[in-house]
Symmetry: D2
Subunit: 318 residues, 4 copies
């Protein structure tokens, strides 16, 4: 098909080569292999345990000018969203004026998978390998009709740490990586080298693919496919011991999966196996444009009891 050929040529020009051919088969470790987690058998916070006073102070030292970048998307009914999810807001206009001061009050009822829409912070009860979750909690043992009795997002609290943007799109010299481009370990390492930064344990690692520029402009394409991590890059990142991993895409992982037998293994690698939270649908255009590669990252997941995640509005400060 002609259009495809043109794209392929363009890819060569910008030096991006498909790695789909290298996609390895992967299978998740057994419960015995992965539990208890390195944070202990009773732990529910995973890498969020990095959040300690020294982590905060490390972030504080990066805030030198007070410049703030909003990394959260506006939540609305017209944002990109999975077909199985919804975000509806119904205004409840004031019904009556109260008192001699004629006070009126408006509010809104919102119906949404509030933990899993918009810029969102994925918690550990969100994903499973079979019936088993982080620290090998079993779904049947901790699921109730109104949330999970373990691994709820209310355990996390504010994370404030050094944030590092790995700008893979800039490395490749493109505004946006191609559809379904698989970010490799080499890409991550070369981008860090180009940015003269190294990762440290407890960092919030954000990967810029440029895909976010489709947000609100071509929601269909934004949700259908996307560049991102696959198994090798995810496992390499997990070994760097970050507090969280984020990206300007819906799922962090490359879509579709290079190995069609696998369903989003990156979610399992991060959330189930390594206890590393994910931060999705980030707005990274400004930090990328200003080459703000190192900053304090602050994110406040809502304390939704038993929730699988939280929509959030994080910032980068430098």
């Amino acid at each position: 098909m002609r259009a495809s050929i043109v794209i392929a040529v363009a890819l060569v020009v910008v030096g991006v080569s498909s790695t789909a051919a290298h996609a390895q088969t992967w299978q998740p470790p057994s419960d015995q292999q992965r539990c208890p987690s390195k944070w202990g058998a009773t732990d529910e916070r995973g890498a969020a345990n990095h959040m300690k006073p020294e982590t905060v102070l490390r972030a504080v030292r990066l805030m030198r000018t007070g410049e703030v970048f909003e990394l959260g998307r506006v939540l609305s009914g017209s944002m990109p969203i999975q077909t199985t999810r919804t975000f509806e807001l119904h205004t409840k206009r004031t019904a009556a004026l109260l008192g001699s001061n004629r006070r009126g009050g408006n509010e809104e009822i919102v119906l949404a998978e509030i933990g899993q829409v918009g810029t969102q912070f994925d918690g550990f009860s969100h994903q499973t390998i079979g019936d088993s979750m982080y620290n090998c909690h079993k779904v049947d043992a901790i699921a109730t009709r109104s949330g999970f009795t373990k691994l709820g997002i209310e355990n996390v609290g504010t994370l404030m740490t050094r944030g590092v943007l790995i700008d893979v799109a800039a490395l490749k010299g493109v505004a946006m990586l191609p559809d379904s481009y698989e970010v490799t370990v080499a890409d991550l390492q070369q981008a860090l080298g180009r940015q003269k930064l190294t990762l440290q344990p407890g960092d919030a690692v954000l990967v810029n693919t440029g895909w976010g520029q489709l947000w609100g402009k071509d929601n269909g394409r934004y949700m259908k496919v996307n560049p991102g991590l696959d198994v090798a890059a995810a496992e390499w990142l997990a070994r760097q011991d970050p507090i969280l991993v984020g990206a300007d895409t819906a799922p962090i992982n490359v879509t579709p999966s290079p190995d069609p037998q696998l369903s989003n293994p990156v979610h399992q690698i991060m959330l189930v196996i390594n206890g590393i939270h994910l931060l999705e649908n980030l707005k990274l255009d400004e930090v990328a444009a200003k080459q703000a590669y190192e900053f304090a990252l602050i994110v406040q997941p809502l304390k939704i009891q038993g929730g699988t995640g939280s929509t959030v509005a994080p910032i980068a400060v430098r």
Copy 2:
């Protein structure tokens, strides 16, 4: 009634005198008197305009030890809530395992007045004087079925500034101010004097009444009445030019209103007249117990398009 007498005696012992007798009649200023706001006729952010690099840096300088206090309550169906509001979470358990990696995904549908439940950040479209809101926007002109076209909470973004806790309960030597105790200007001034702090423009001012200790223990009493600000104290506070005002109660204002003709005038004074956001249902017990009276306050309202407010999970850091 015997119980009342006992309470009255206790009040005298702890030196708290009722000020209800001094409650003045108040009437809101006219649109002509209050518009445009001091932030300009087209402004939608009010005192949130204090959020500038220097404000951030002022907050940064207060973060000396990296100690973090979570000020947000857990969101659950059993928290205190207005009878006209709801918070429901229905677990959507994984329906099928996907791929050879047997990936399962859980999420939850949440139904709530999400801007107005739990620890919450009140925006300007929340309140009116008659049909008129902050900067004299008229309800009919900006209300739609799915939010407000002006004054939506998405305009705010993260606020990060110096926070000051005014511990009125500690001033009075009580764990908790009495039911419907009206906090006076003198109370605020004396508490600040006792704490050796002065307010600065752009501060986040949090008032500790101790009432928060009822949260989850006696929700009925927590919601029925509460100590808090009335007209005089609110107007004095507004003149100090804070970025926001918060408390460990549902409405900030004293409940019921000392002047029974008035319906929560503090909401109008702050949100409608002065463009100062409110931060309600804070968890202030830890900062109060540790006498953490000055800190960096960080709060990230969700970017709900056209929303009247946002549930939040703020922190204090010092």
Copy 3:
């Protein structure tokens, strides 16, 4: 435009002539002209007042074989629906087995404009002319945040009466009337003549356009345009004094309106001016195929307090 010409030719072949050219300008009567309604100034039921014992008995006499036709569509997330409405069902699976008899209980939370989705019965609080509704009730006077204090659908109750299917598609010899075909008074009269039936006061009049065969097959087209009544046919039908008017389309009226200045005048003519309920999205294929033109129509709107309508599952029995 070429496509239009082809369609026009097709219409001539099947004997359908466009009447869009005759579309008159129409303006709704003033409050003075239309109130009180013929059912009295305090009436909230309109033509549903036809529901009396003799009406029931008239229906009873038509039930001769006990043959039942289900006229209601299945309610699901994949049915045709307005973009501003939703139908979501979230299963609440049993969380625990109770008792020695190990009893489990499942249910579902449903989020929907339940009065206005699927096969639906429109009530009088659904529509306005300006701020004025049936019997000149004003929106501001009867609307609350949780329904209407007058004209709620709970006032209707079961309707059981003679039903007459007017099969305009059959008259025209087509399975389905063309897009945006305007059903004329002559069409209705000729179809009745062909069926050897006359209308009687209190009848439930159902118009078959054949459009319903798109339901679930081409939802986009089903909702975008449709054949139906316009002003003249609606006013003629209203003069026949039916208990309700229904069709196998979403809005009963032709879409788009032949006069582009008018927004669905048929809704105003029926609900606001004449107090005649509407029954939308009917499944009429079976009654049409079996030429069941006269039957007992039974419909049970839910008693939603203050509701604007009700999804329903009516039947025809003969």
Copy 4:
């Protein structure tokens, strides 16, 4: 306890003797014992299969005067409801007037366990014995996030049949049976004898306890306890082969269960074992007061795909 003694005396006076002492232990039959159901292994409608032309005609013959009794309760936020369920209606007022005819449209978003609130028709996916449902369908095999793939309420359709009111309250000479009164087989038989009626296969059997007079007056008591059937009466009724069983209480069964080890066995006997639908929270005061013991019962469950039940608004006609 004094209050209990007084009640016991009152019971003797009105001739009601407690049968709690006779409460037998009961255990549900095994899958092998009860499957396939008498309606066949693939059946999903159970006793609703009685709905045939001759059943309709039998009902038709009972409609002699056209008198209609509404048996459905008004659905509102203030009705009695289980603590785990909700009914919320939020008005969506017209946001704009459309066209030169200034058309406005109101609707409402409703959040509810719509199959299980108000006057309701219980379907077969509502209840289980362990993980097994009617015709031994397993929960895991047919449950999805958005309903059940088998046994959904959309399979039922309108039921129209002879209805028989068994007025046990009238038999006992009381307006309302006592709290937790267990209706016995003898009660049912004696009441039928007093009413000079016999049950026939396919009847809709409605039991009047008088408990419905608490609806909207003492919702707390209405939901806490109630007179009703227990195992013996339910099994006897099931053997009469009715199309459905209903009552003027929330659960049909007596509450609490006389055998504290059992959790509502009547639901299992009817829905899981015998495939007989239940009709709850009926308004039976009028039919009871007018001694309308035999009538045509018409009920139209909504066609909620995969639903566990449906709120309904049934009628009795005679």
